[in-house]
Every structure is written in C-alpha cells, then in structure tokens.
C-alpha cells in the first residue's frame, strides 16, 4: 500500500516543481517537520525514507536550504526543551537513568534526521559554513540539556556523589556512570573537562586531604603507605572503568600530592615505624611500597635517599668507632660485610636496584670505613684469617664470593697503600709459616688486586710467591748434591729477595753448633750456584721440629720457633740455666727471648720448661729447668709464641711511618710526571692533579704535596716563576 502512496506523492511533487507553488517550501517543510516529530515520538515506523529524502533534496535544490536548516534547528531545540523537562522531572536515582535513556533516543533520532537531510548536509552546509547536522545535534543537546540550569548542577552533584559513594565502599552502577561520562566526552573534550573533570579533581583533592590527615594521625608508616597505595590503585581502576583515559595522570597526581607529597617528611621520620625502622627491620615490602609511591612525587626518592644515607653513615660510624669492635678485627670486618649484605638486599629487593641508591650506599661506606684509620689493617687481617683457616671445607665458588666481598670493601679504602703494607706483612707470615690454606685463593686475590690497582701494586706480592717456588727448587738441589745429609738434622731454607718482603730487623742469634754447620754448608752451596749475592739469616722468622724425651721417658715431637729451638737445645747440656746464661748463649733480643721463654714455661699444657720462681712473667733473675713432668695427649706438640696478632702500639706507629715514607717518592714521581708534560702549572692545579693521580692508592695530603714540591725545588727539578710565585716551572 505504501508503494501506492509514494507514487501519489511523487506525482504531486512533480506538479509542484512545474507550477512552483508559492507555498511549496512551507508544505514540504511541514512534511519534514512532522517526520522529525514522529522520530522523536518513537513513531518512525510510518515514515517513508524515500519520500522524506527526496523532499529534503528538493528543498535544497530549489534554494530553500536556509529554510530547511533553520527549521531543523527550531524543531530540534523544541524537542530538546521538552526532553530537558522530562529529565528534570525524574526523581532521585531515576535522574541519571532518564538522562541516559533520552541521550540514546536523541542519538538515534539524530542519525535518522541526518539520513533524511543527507543532501543538505553534503552540499548546502559546507558551502554556507553551517554546522553539520550531527555536530549541530550534539551542540543543541549540550546547550539545552547539559547546560540547562536545572540540570547542570544536579548532574555534576549526582556524579560526584556516586564517586564519593564508591570511595566509601558502596557499589554503584558503573555501566550507567560510564554511559553518562561517555556522553560528556562525546559532547567535546571541553564539556567533559569543564562540566566534570575539573570539579571532580577539586573534590577528590579535598577528599584525600581529609583522609590523609585522618590516616596519618592513627596509622603507622607501613599501614599508611598500604592505604595510599590502595587508594591510588582504586583511582586508576576507576579511570579504566568509566573515565577518560587522559584523566588518569590528573587524578593520580591529586592522590600523589595529597597523600604522599604533603606528608612525605612526616612519613619518613615517623616514630617507631619510619624509614629508619624499616631499614633496621628489613621490611622489604614496606620499603618497596615506599619507594614505588615516593618515586611518583617530586623529590620523593631524594628524600628517601637522604634519610637512608644519613642512617647508613650513622650506623657505620658507630660500627667502626666502637672500641669493643676494635678488639676483634675479623669480627669488625665481618660486621661491615654483613651490613653491606643487608643494605644490598634492601636496595635490590625494595629499591628496584636504583643506581642512585647504590651510589648513596657506596659513598656512605666510603665515608665511614675511612673514619677508622685501622680499617686497611683490619681488612688485611680478615683476609689473613680467612686464608689461614677460614677457607677450609669451603667450595671454590664460596671462596671467590668472600674474596669479592673483601675487594669491595677494599675499593672503599682511601689509603690503599696502607692496606698493601699490611697485606704484605700478613702474606709473608702466611707463606713462611706455611700456614696458607689455598694457593689458588691467594693467587686469585692477587689477580683481583692487580685488576683493581694495576701491576705496580702487586709486583712485590708476586715476587714473594716466586721466592717461595725457587726456594723449593734450591732445597731439592742442595739435598741432591749432599745425599749424606738426609740422616742428620734437616734444614729448610727460604731465600727471600730483599725488597720484595717486608723488611725485618735482622738480629741473627747464635744457632746450636750442629745447625750452624749445616747453615754454613748451605751458604757455600748457594753462593756457589749464585754469584754476587749475599745471604743473611732471619732467625726470628724460622721454625723447627725437635724430638724430645722427658724424665719419665715420654717422647714428644715439639714444633717450635727457631729461637725456642735454640733455647731448648741448651738444655741438652745443662739441667738448670739462668735467664742471663740463656741470653748470653743465644744472643736473642731481650723482648723476643722473654716471649719465647714465656711461651715455653708459663703456658699451661705447653710448659716443657719449669721456672723458678713460678710466676706469669719472665724476670731477669729467673732460672729454668726441663719440666720432667710434662705430659700431653698428643705426640706432636705445637708450642706457639706469645705474639699479639694485632700490632702493638709502637709497631703501629712504625708501620704508619713507613707508609708515610713510602708515599713521599710516589708523590714526587707524580709531581714530576705532571710537570714534565705541562711544563708550567699553578699550585692549586698541581694539588688537584696529584691527588687525582694517586687516588687509586691513597688520599694525598696537600701539606705533604707542598713539602714535596719544595723539596723538588731545592733539588732543581722545579723552579718558581720569577713574577708569579704561585706558578711552578719544570726544569729539564
């Protein structure tokens, strides 16, 4: 039937075109207006698209485009006014529902109207600079609905109220919320921003300002951070559910500012739960949370870093200056290593291995390790301890790990040359007493030192190893030449190159006759094979194994020092010897002799001698006997010498002095190197450059550098500039 109707209409339209009915435009517009009304009234099923399209087309064709366009604006505005009233009339929760439903209706109607008016939209509108139909429909909706005075505030308040409800734990209709927000975005980003986003951010800031105040009063730091993190995640989730993605940065910024940035210092310094407590208690989770939250705000990480640094420096300082700790160097270093392990794992587990945090840690260690002048000595002692006994039953990998850790501490040292000095002493003792556990471990550490400080640093240490090897060969050669010596006492000699080893005060004692004969034999053998050398005996460093039979026939093998051996051998020919007699016969230096006698007569279990009178210390008038009642469970008895492993006070002074002496030529060499290439340089620059050059070994003292410069001037290596006294010249 509709087909018939259309035909009728078409014929009619044709007549109009020919006759040009003066009311043509009015009549046609009435038809289209009616159609628009029907579309808004959900009554479009009775409409014919073909008919309406051609009517709109004809109006534009006959220059009634303007009429059509203004008609559209008027009609649509009227419908929207009606709609705004029905939305406004909706009660309570129905308000948003109604708004959403009407919005969907309007969109559908707009689409259909655009279909009908397509020809106008494509031809009349662009050439007359009018707003296209779809955009027009959105603008009219914005002006008549969203910006309608009775709707605008109500809409905003409803939306903000819903957000607030959700924040306080209620469940809201997120789908509806999403549709309404989407509508605001469809109306243009400025509508979304002005009519929702801006007030939303303001209200949120207020909300979080209040909440953070409440939390900070009643929560500890970890709890607070947990709550802040949850709030942050909630807001991010809210954005993905029903806000514009671009709002995420803005709302998280609000939460960050209100909950974190504004309370940063208070959180970090919170009593009993702040950053320092977290560090002390290894609260990786809380620390990680703090790191992740604070990194979001300006100066957040630097705040954490500063507090951590001062905490590290404080605890480190306490550790290295605690007089209790100084008693046990091994424990001292072990504590440092433990502290480093603890801090490392905090940085890797909680602070995302942040480079700036690692740097802060390193600088803290560097700071406090050098607060204690004995740190180089202690680190060397720690190594000594490990290499003497500590590495037994430890796998090769673990050895490497321990050595690497030591190297790490070594890197923090400013006075690396002091360490070298001690290391050399300790290494010498280990090598000569054959106490070193693992040759591989020793060499591995040397390689590490070499990579860290260069060839020069380790050349002497390596020379010590070479000496040990050649000595072995020499001894083999000696006994191969004199096979008859195998039956008598055995002599093992280690030939040490002067200079490679720590210089020892040479005080040769009188050896027993059988031994000195043997020594002479070796001397002539050695000098026979190596011309131009000089041998001097270091009797203070040797050891001896002697067999002894005591009064009741008990037999023991005694492991003693060379000095002790000399003393004991005297008792082969005497039962009683006074201190004076012993001193005369052996010519052992008094302090060494006292220690040596003390260790044989006063130590329980090792007292192979008996002394009169009985007392702890050795007096000049004491007399000594063989202790016939000596017993021991073991056949082999090791008699130690009472030696302080740590240096005594004068020894320390001496080492210090030696280090200072050694530094002088190094500073001078550096000055000459620099001046040779620069020819002329002023005082301050020399100081800087010398300090820089020597950094890998020690921290040069400016006064000392100045002294060295003066000395060089005296020796005509340098001269002062005649005009500028601050300027130095190199004299070739």
């Amino acid at each position: 039937m509709s087909n018939q109707k259309k035909r009728n209409f078409q014929i009619e339209a044709f007549k109009h075109r020919v006759v040009v009915d003066p009311k043509y435009a009015d009549k046609t517009w009435k038809i289209l207006e009616h159609a628009i009304d029907e579309i808004y009234n959900h009554n479009a099923s009775g409409l014919s698209f073909e008919e309406l399209y051609r009517n709109a087309y004809n109006m534009v064709l006959h220059k009634f485009g303007e009429r059509l366009y203004t008609g559209l604006v008027t009609t649509m505005t009227a419908h929207l006014k009606e709609i705004s009233n029905s939305i406004e009339a909706a009660q309570g929760d129905m308000f948003l529902e109604e708004l959403n439903r009407k919005w969907n209706d309007h969109n559908k109607a707009l689409q259909m109207i655009r279909d009908i008016l397509m020809y106008m939209d494509r031809t009349y509108i662009p050439s007359n600079q009018k707003t296209p139909v779809h955009e027009l429909g959105l603008n009219l909706w914005r002006d008549n609905i969203i910006h309608f005075i009775k709707i605008q505030m109500r809409l905003l308040n409803t939306l903000l109220e819903l957000v607030k409800k959700e924040r306080t734990g209620e469940v809201i209709n997120r789908g509806l919320m999403r549709n309404i927000i989407k509508m605001l975005m469809d109306l243009g980003s400025s509508v979304y921003q002005e009519d929702f986003e801006k007030p939303f951010l303001e209200v949120s800031a207020e909300f979080y300002r209040g909440e953070s105040q409440k939390f900070i009063e009643c929560c500890d730091c970890g709890e607070y951070l947990k709550k802040a993190e949850r709030r942050l995640n909630e807001e991010i989730e809210r954005v993905t559910h029903y806000l514009d993605a671009k709002s995420e940065a803005k709302i998280t910024n609000v939460v960050e500012k209100e909950m974190i940035a504004n309370h940063m210092l208070r959180l970090v310094h919170m009593e009993n739960s702040g950053l320092v407590n977290m560090l002390l208690d290894d609260k990786y989770e809380d620390l990680g949370r703090m790191y992740n939250l604070f990194r979001r705000v300006p100066n957040g990480l630097s705040t954490i870093r500063d507090v951590m640094t001062s905490h590290l420096r404080e605890t480190g300082k306490q550790l290295v200056t605690d007089p209790e700790r100084l008693k046990d160097p091994v424990e001292f270093v072990q504590r440092l290593l433990d502290e480093k392990d603890k801090d490392d794992s905090i940085i890797s587990l909680a602070f995302n291995n942040d480079k700036t945090f690692q740097n802060a840690l390193n600088s803290s260690f560097e700071y406090f390790i050098n607060l204690n002048a004995r740190s180089p000595e202690f680190i060397s002692l720690f190594v000594d301890d490990k290499l003497r006994k500590g590495l037994k039953d430890v796998s090769e990998e673990d050895v490497e790990i321990i050595l690497d850790k030591v190297m790490m501490l070594f890197r923090y040292l400013q006075e690396k040359d002091v360490f070298e000095k001690y290391y050399k002493q300790h290494l010498a003792k280990r090598l000569l007493s054959g106490k070193t556990v693992s040759d591989d471990a020793e060499r591995s550490l040397i390689v590490k030192l070499k990579t860290e400080c260069g060839y020069q640093f380790t050349s002497k240490l390596e020379g010590m190893f070479t000496d040990m090897r050649t000595s072995q060969d020499t001894m083999q050669g000696f006994y191969a030449k004199y096979p008859e010596l195998v039956d008598g006492p055995t002599l093992v000699v280690q030939v040490l190159t002067t200079g490679s080893w720590p210089t020892q005060p040479s005080a040769t004692c009188n050896l027993p006759a059988e031994m000195s004969a043997l020594c002479e034999k070796f001397r002539s053998y050695y000098l026979g094979t190596h011309t131009g050398r000089r041998l001097s005996w270091q009797t203070n460093m040797g050891t001896a194994d002697i067999k002894a039979t005591f009064g009741k026939g008990q037999k023991h093998e005694l492991n003693v020092s060379t000095y002790q051996m000399c003393v004991l051998m005297l008792f082969n020919n005497a039962d009683r010897l006074s201190y004076k007699e012993i001193e005369q016969a052996t010519e052992i230096p008094a302090s060494d002799l006292k220690r040596c006698l003390q260790s044989m007569a006063c130590v329980k279990g090792k007292n192979v001698l008996r002394k009169e009178p009985m007392s702890k210390d050795i007096g000049e008038d004491d007399a000594f006997f063989v202790n016939d009642k000596f017993t021991s469970k073991f056949y082999k008895v090791k008699i130690g010498t009472v030696v302080a492993q740590k240096e005594s006070e004068p020894e320390k002074q001496e080492t210090r002095q030696r280090v200072e002496e050694d530094r002088k030529p190094q500073i001078e060499a550096a000055i000459v190197r620099i001046m040779k290439s620069r020819r002329v340089l002023d005082h301050n620059n020399i100081i800087t450059e010398v300090t820089k050059q020597l950094q890998s070994r020690f921290l040069a003292n400016p006064t000392e550098i100045k002294k060295r410069i003066e000395s060089l001037i005296e020796r005509d290596f340098l001269e002062r500039d005649a005009n500028d006294r601050k300027l130095y010249r190199y004299l070739a």
Partner: protein
Amino acid sequence: MGVQKDRIKFNVGGRVFETTATTLANAGRDSYFGALFNDDWDLLHSNNSQEFFIDGNPECFSILLDLLRTGYLHIPSNVPERLLYREAAFYGLINHVRSAKWGPFNGNRLRYCKSVTGRAPGDGTAIRAGPDGGCAVAHGSMVHVFDWMLEEHPPINLDYQRVNDIGWVNADSVVISTCERLGTPDGGMGLFTSSTGELRYKFNVVHGNQTKSFTAGALSFSPDYKIFSSCKGRSNEYGIGVWDQVTGKQIDFFYESSLGDADKLQWLNGRNCLLVATLFPRKDNCYISILDFRQKRMVWSWSDIGALVTVDEKRVRDAIAIEETNSICVVNEYEDLGFIDLRMEGGGVRWSSRSRLSTGNMLDEPCYPKLALHEGQLFSSMNDCISVFCGPDCVLTSRLRRSDGGSICDFSIGGDRLFALHSEENVFDIWETPPPIL
C-alpha cells in the same frame, strides 16, 4: 530460502533494476543507499520481494550501479555529464564518481580531457588548480572559479581591482591578491568561499597600529596555515607579509623594499624557508633570495648582476627550488633550463641546453616560459606546449600540445589534474591521467 537473500529490486523512473545489498554496500554508510538500509528505516520494507521506487533517471542509475559493482565509471555519449553528476549528488555518490573519473597524476601519461571557453574580455593572468580537481582563472580584475565538474561558480572580485595572483587555501577557500586603488582601502588581499564567491575576510597590513592600503603580489602557502605575499604599500610597507589562514590576522612582516615587487614566492618545506624571486622584465635583473622567518633574515641570495653576458643573452624568466637536489631550476626565454646550487653563495647558473630539443610553434604573441614541480617531475611551458622533465638530471620525457588558443600564459597542477591557460581565445585546457582499469 535457497536463493540469494540479499537481492533487491528497484524501480527507477519506470525501469526495474535488480541488484544485491553487497553491491549497494559499496556506496558506504554516508549515502542514500547506506541510509536506506540502516536498521532504523527498514521497518517498512521487511519484505524482500518488494521493489523500491525511486523517481530518478534510469540511464544514470544504471551507470552508477555499474560504478558500485565494478568501481569503473563509463559515461555513454548519449548521457550528459551534468545530468549524471546531479543524479550522483542525489544518491550521495558524487565522491565515488569523482575518484573514478581520473587516476593519480603522472606527467608522462596525461590525456587531453577538455577545453573550457570563458567570456572574459582581457588576457588571462593566472590559473590555479584547486585541491579537488577544480580551478580558478584570473582575467583582469575577475576570478572565475570552476569545480571539478567544471561547473562555474559565481565569479570573484576584490573591489574590481586588477588581480595579481590566486591561491587555494583548501577546497572551499580561495585567496586573491590585487592592486590597490590610490586613496582608498580597496584592493589588497581577500579570502573567498569558492562555491559562493562570498568574501569572508580581507587581509590587512598594519604598520604602526594603522591599517595601510597595499598592492599584493605573488602568494604562497605553508602547511602550518600561513599565507605569504609580496606587498607594496604607500609608505614603508615594502616586503613580504605573513598572515594566519585561520584567523586572517597578520602575524609577521619582513621589511625589505626589493622584495615588494617579487613575482614568485615558494614555500620550502624541508628548509622551513621562503623562496622569493623578482624577475625580468619587472626589474632589469633577476634576484632570487631565501628568507628564514625564524631568524628574520635572508639566508641565501643570488642575482645576475654582473654575470657575463654570453653570445645569446640568457635572462632568467622563472625560477623554482628543487629541494631534493638542493638547487634552483631557472628557465630563460628560449626554454633553456639552468640550475643554481643552493648550498653555496655566489655560484653561477649551470645552463643545460639538452632540454631545448625542439621549440614549439613560434606564435605572434609569445609568452614567457613558466615552471612547475610535481612529485619529482618538472614542467615547463613555452609557446603553445608544456614539456615534462624527469629524473635528477631533468630529462625531457613528454610534451603536451594543443594548437588552439595561442600560447600558454600560465599553467597549474593540482587535484591530479593539469590546467593550461592560453593567452588568446580565453580558453583553458584540462589534462588528466586515465584511471587504471583493473
């Protein structure tokens, strides 16, 4: 149900057509058919067997249906093009027709399409191709605008002052530059709606807070919506003016009296600079310079003052910068091409005589040669023909000639078409590349 479900029957002006929804879907949503088959409207026509009546021309419907089916446009000689275009506009298929009518531009595959004769009394001044296949032609004080269908729109004038140059801002807007009339604010520059000929706004030159009258010369446009024009004012306003296309406000002015007469401006995208050329016979010598507005200075310049006068006098008549080769291509009155190196100051012209393989018919009223550049192809007009040069060495590859209408005074390429304006007879020709047949 076995038969095709999407078959659709139309009765167009009494002739029945049968097609499928798939074919009609090629029209797109933004068309008559797209709207017709939208869910909101199909309530009436749920019955597939029913035919739709359309009060239209069946011949045209058939052509358009073929276009939707095959993507190929064939207009039989008995169907007037204007009628077809009008029907296509009704169905919202005009863009389909336009893009099927001619193919992507290629200087070596151009086909003469059509000539349009105008009614203007004087000689042609300039022709400019629009972005969608239309053009604007200036004769004396009038500009005639044609759309791609070569339908003429209402002509444009700016206070009936003599037009110096035309430029398309976009498919809807044209800028014209004209001479001033002494003592009045008439003339200058204006922006017009191309379809209605309505003046949207005039561009002013403001000097010391006063709006000055001025003569606008050559025009150029940059992609960041700036318009450049050479300007001559009453007092000091000699130089290059810069305006915002969107607001029409003056945003800059480069004062340099020698530039006010410039014949040619060319915006150089790669360098972010403007080429300004003042040529013989406006001045006795030829001056070419490059301006950098960010630094407010001339960053390169060249002139033929003091150049050796060779046996046959060679004067630069047009210049165009080729950014890819860092050179400026120039042409003399014998259609010799020459090149100036942009990378150095004070270099000479390297003339290449290879280009002059044959001259066109010498006509009674010769025109100076002009140059144009399009996607690496160089075009040069001389007498009644246009030569096409390709490749980095500018090898002559094609020549376009139509002997009616006398010599070519201007030509322009745009919207995948080439327009050539003849000085006599008031005729312009359209050249297009045929669409590819799949």
